[in-house]
Structure formats: structure tokens, C-alpha cells
Symmetry: C2
Amino acid sequence: MRPTFNSLCAKLQQKAYKITPQRQIILKAFFDHEQRHLSAEEIHGIVKQNHPEIGLATVYRTLEILANLDILHKIEFGDGRTRYEFAEAEVHHHHHLICINCGKVMEFNDDLLESLETWIAKKTNFLVVDHQLKFYGYCKDCQCRE
Amino acid sequence: MRPTFNSLCAKLQQKAYKITPQRQIILKAFFDHEQRHLSAEEIHGIVKQNHPEIGLATVYRTLEILANLDILHKIEFGDGRTRYEFAEAEVHHHHHLICINCGKVMEFNDDLLESLETWIAKKTNFLVVDHQLKFYGYCKDCQCRE
DNA sequence: TAAATATTGCGACCGACCTTCAATTCGCTC
DNA sequence: GAGCGAATTGAAGGTCGGTCGCAATATTTA
């Protein structure tokens, strides 16, 4: 079951964070664009449409808080900007297919890596707590052209 | 068999790049620090010791060229700076174990992902040409403390 | 050796992100 | 609901990795 907007606000409040309009607006933007991997500037662009007074620094600060509370999850696609998605998605071990040509990002699920993690622990004494798997290549649309 | 310094210079020359002292010095630095994942600034620091006149921009430009020629391979560990390693290492499908606590980076090899790539191609029509797998966790030394 | 062209170092610039600070707002208590 | 203290905000400026423009210089080819 996925968290509701209200349950996430409650999570903020539990940790003594104040429920400001700005934080609500930013959080709502993630519900409205659930499918995308949004960067800070993209979020800023979205919330500014209806709330032009919200500053970029506030967006950065809010994203940092939401990531620390495990509400959002940071991802990097190598284009120099950090992107965010709902953290709950991460427990399904979904990973990313990144098109080198058009930059489109798709997802796929797998559970293959869990067995790999325990194998690593045995072999190397390294305690794995998270992993990131990215595949680079050409999506269906970009395989003919280019 | 790994390429020699001279064979890599030849590769540059084939593509109509000039063999300048700066490029040789930067390339040599990678032979002298083969085990590490060096960033542009680190390379600059190394080459400046014996050749203080080499500019940072030249280092960036040279690394870009060497990466485009598949002599070096770019890697990102999420610390905001691009790092480089010899590309030949990549064909062995080695991946990285990144310690969240001390930042140490270890490597491990696997061939597991090749079968996954063909599986993806069938399932999603996505043509995989490269992949990146990173595990975050705690290395042996950091598991007790922290 | 000289001309044509690529490359260099420098400094200015860029974009993503963070910090500082005065002004405002939240959440609590009365 | 007013008042208080602490957290938060927007704006401006700063940091940092990386890039660009340009005049000076070096490499290659003839």
C-alpha cells in the first residue's frame, strides 16, 4: 500500500518539521507527476506555475528533508542533476533503462540482485544496504535512426 | 592483453589528434595510478607536481577525448565529480562497492548481468550497450563503528 | 623551414546546489 | 485568538565542478 499525502505530512510532523504551504505544494507535485523522475529545477518550474513566490532554495531544502525521511529517493542519471522519485517504489527493486540517444528513462523490475547482495556479503565482507543498476542503450524508437 | 602507452598514442594519432606533451603526461598518470578512480582535479594535482604549467582546462579536454576514444571510461559515484578509469577494465564487467561511511571504493567482477541484458532486450525492445551497477553499504572497517 | 591547423593556458563564465540573513510563519500555550 | 520562540522562507550571493572564448603557441605536413 502506498502512503497517502496526509500520512506523509504526518511523517513530517512526527519529526518536528512544520507543515508549511510550500512543503505541501512540493509534495503534491510529486503526486501529480508520479511517473516522472523530477529534478529540483523541474519541481520549481511546476510549483511556480501556481505559486510564483516559492524560491528555488526552498525546493532544494524541502527535497533534502523528504529524502532524509525516506519519502523521496535520490537518483542520478549522469546528466549532472539529482532527480527524485517516491522512495516506496524502491522496495520493488526497479531499475532504469536510459536511452543514450533521446534521454528517455524507462523502468524494469527484478529481484535478481538480492541473491547477488548476499553473495557479495559472504565474499567480500561488504554489507550492502542499497544498490543502483542502470542500463544504457537505445530505446525502441532510437534503434533505427541515429 | 592490455594496451600499451604507445598503442594508445597511436590510437590518438589515427583519429587525427596530435600527440602533445600534455596528453602524454596525462595518459601516463593513468598508468602510474592504475588502481584508482581518478577525477579531473586529482589528475591535475598529480601532473602539476612535475609540470606546473598544465592547465585544468587541458586536463578536462584531454579526459573528454580519451573517453570518446574508449581509452578511458567515465564513472560517477554520486559525489558530484566525474571519475575515470581505463576502459579496458570495463569489459570484465567489474562493478563497484561504495562505502557510505568512508567513501572507499572496492571492485568486484561478475558475468551475471550479461544474461540479464539479453532478457531485457527481449522483454522491452531496449538495446543495451552498457550498464552500471553500484552497491552502497559499509565496508569491513566501517561496519562496527558509526 | 614555413604554412595550416590543432592545442594550450588563462580567465571569464555556466549551471546546479548551498549558505547566510533578515523577515515571516508555524505550532504551541495561555 | 493573541503572543511567543523556534523553524522556515525568499533573496542574494557564494561554492564547486566543469566549459568556453581567445590570443599565444606547438604539432604536423609539405
